[in-house]
């Protein structure tokens, strides 16, 4: 598998602020990659440098081998970016905007693909509607469509579901999964961690312009989170001292245990049986990206 996006030692300053501090990472072709971090971490700045909207002070970024500065035309042909801001051209209809966007990439007679994008984003009925007349969610869909008109092998989605309804999210992720299956590399930034957890195979965590974690989603979850065991035991029953030391406390009537590995469940249940403590209810929660995210940022 070859590298779709190679980011090497990128530094970007805005005055005294170090927005990106020697950021390096490689994103493989065909990956569904998540770029996470709190507000101001540098995610959008990194995407701007990748898309050529900003110039890095140091370092280089390549898209499928093409430098985004010195070979910008080749790099941009291979990149589709959904910007975070809800922007639109008020003079034109949805179809006109998509035709213009196709033309900017040198593509003529693109209506067949435009129709397919419109159908997948549930925009067919709005194709001839002026952009000004669309709701915020519809405008967001058009932004996604505009990023896809030239069938870019690398798609960057900067907070694409911010402020949109559940239906669009589901449509959008279904469409993105399909494009990813067809070989498109997808880079996603989002504040919805459950989306990143369910979609992204690998994640990068940014904080203060630095990469603080870069690994598979499963590995990140294991390292910074884990399964949680919640047990309801009869009122008045006391945990043995060793288990009490392991407990994370009582939440909503459940004794909770943060597990470093799933197999620890068996040992806890065995100790309870040894002490004759009955279990009235039991729940095991999977690792939680939100918890992992918070812990990683605190480190």
């Amino acid at each position: 598998m070859s590298v779709a996006v190679s980011i090497s030692g990128v530094v970007k300053r805005f005055g005294a602020l170090m927005a990106l501090d020697h950021v390096s990472m490689d994103i493989e072709e065909g990956e569904f990659f998540g770029l996470l971090g709190p507000n101001g971490a540098g995610k959008t700045t990194l995407i701007s440098c990748l898309a050529g909207l900003s110039r890095a002070d140091l370092g280089s970024i390549r898209v499928l081998g093409y430098d985004v500065q010195s070979q910008y035309r080749e790099a941009r042909r291979r990149l589709g970016v959904v910007p975070q801001e809800l922007v639109f051209d008020p003079f034109f209809s949805v179809r006109e905007c998509l035709r213009f966007q196709s033309g900017y990439y040198g593509i003529r007679d693109n209506d067949a693909w435009i129709d397919e994008i419109l159908a997948n984003l549930d925009l067919t009925a709005k194709a001839e509607t002026n952009m000004r007349r669309l709701s915020g969610g519809m405008k967001r869909r058009v932004l996604v469509a505009q990023a896809l008109v030239h069938k870019p092998p690398v798609i960057v989605l900067d907070e694409p579901t911010a402020g949109v309804d559940v239906e669009l999210r589901q449509n959008l992720w279904q469409f993105m999964r399909r494009l990813n299956r067809e070989g498109h590399t997808i880079i996603l930034t989002t504040h919805y961690l459950e989306e990143a957890e369910s979609l992204c195979g690998r994640l990068a965590l940014l904080k203060d312009g630095k990469v603080i974690a870069l690994e598979s989603t499963a590995s990140l979850l294991t390292r910074f989170s884990g399964h949680t065991l919640a047990l309801r035991i009869p009122d008045g029953a006391a945990l043995p001292a060793d288990l009490a030391a392991l407990s994370s406390g009582v939440k909503e009537g459940f004794q909770t245990f943060a597990l470093t590995e799933f197999a620890a469940v068996e040992g806890i249940l065995a100790r309870l049986r040894e002490h004759g403590i009955r279990i009235d209810d039991m729940r095991v929660s999977p690792p939680d990206l939100e918890e992992a995210f918070v812990k990683a940022l605190r480190q």
Binding site: F14, A51, E85, Y105, G106
Partner: protein, 250 residues
């Protein structure tokens, strides 16, 4: 040039969608100028041996060509920067040369459309026809292109509409109004005649008027050379700024 033809078409459609504002309004303004000044002065004044209304008309046409060429490129850029839709032009692989030529050519086209419109509606009041249409067209195209370049620069420089209006009202408007649209500079005192020669718009107006009457304050060859030099200088500056991504790419 990748993207040039699309961007050019989009820029043309953009002003055509609001044709009342971008074409009809400046045509009406020019018509009102002509009606008022011609009514007051036509019977009392003649310049270069032609009636005042006829003398005034080419100046008015050229003034509208220049002002609308500037308005087209500057308003399109500032609008897309303020609304953020400029990103649709910055993300694709459009070269800065294609970007520049599409904006400036569209500015020239809008200027010419307004100019033809002014000529068409004023024919009834002051019927004139170019004696040397090639000269008139050359000054219209290069003059419009100079102002189209300045419009691109202003559209990149201004952060808000207020700043663009200042550029337009305090630089472009005085340069065009004080360029001999309403008078021959020979009617001015020597000092102001000399000052007028430092105003590049004066050569555009004077040369354009030569295309109609075959007479001018300055030899048309010299005027055209100066206008072309202004075009080359403003084009070089605009291309340089676009290449750097000045105020467009951080």
């Amino acid at each position: 040039m990748s993207g040039f033809s699309t961007l050019f078409k989009k820029e043309l459609l953009r002003f055509w969608r609001v044709v009342f504002q971008t074409v009809a309004a400046p045509v009406l303004t020019a018509l009102l100028y002509l009606l008022i000044f011609a009514q007051v002065l036509d019977e009392h004044v003649s310049v270069h041996g032609v009636r005042y209304a006829a003398f005034l008309l080419p100046g008015l046409v050229m003034m509208q060509i220049l002002q609308n060429a500037f308005a087209n490129s500057s308003s399109s850029l500032i609008q897309s920067r303020v609304t953020g839709s400029i990103v649709f032009l910055l993300l694709p692989p459009i070269s800065y040369g294609a970007f520049w030529s599409a904006f400036v050519l569209a500015a020239v086209v809008r200027g010419l459309v307004v100019g033809v419109g002014v000529l068409a509606v004023t024919l009834w009041f002051a019927p004139i026809w170019p004696a040397a249409p090639g000269w008139a067209l050359a000054f219209a195209v290069f003059g419009g292109a100079v102002l189209g370049n300045l419009g691109v620069i202003a559209g990149m420089w201004a952060e808000k509409f207020d700043q663009l209006a200042a550029f337009q009202n305090f630089l472009i408007m005085p340069l065009t109004m004080l360029s001999g649209v309403f008078y021959s500079i020979h009617a001015l005192p020597p000092f102001w005649q000399a000052v007028s020669h430092y105003n590049p718009v004066f050569y555009m107006i004077d040369g354009f008027r030569y295309g109609f009457f075959g007479v001018s304050d300055v030899a048309p060859e010299r005027a055209l050379l100066i206008v072309i030099a202004c075009f080359v200088a403003t084009a070089a500056l605009t291309l340089g700024l676009l290449r750097r991504g000045w105020k467009l790419r951080t």
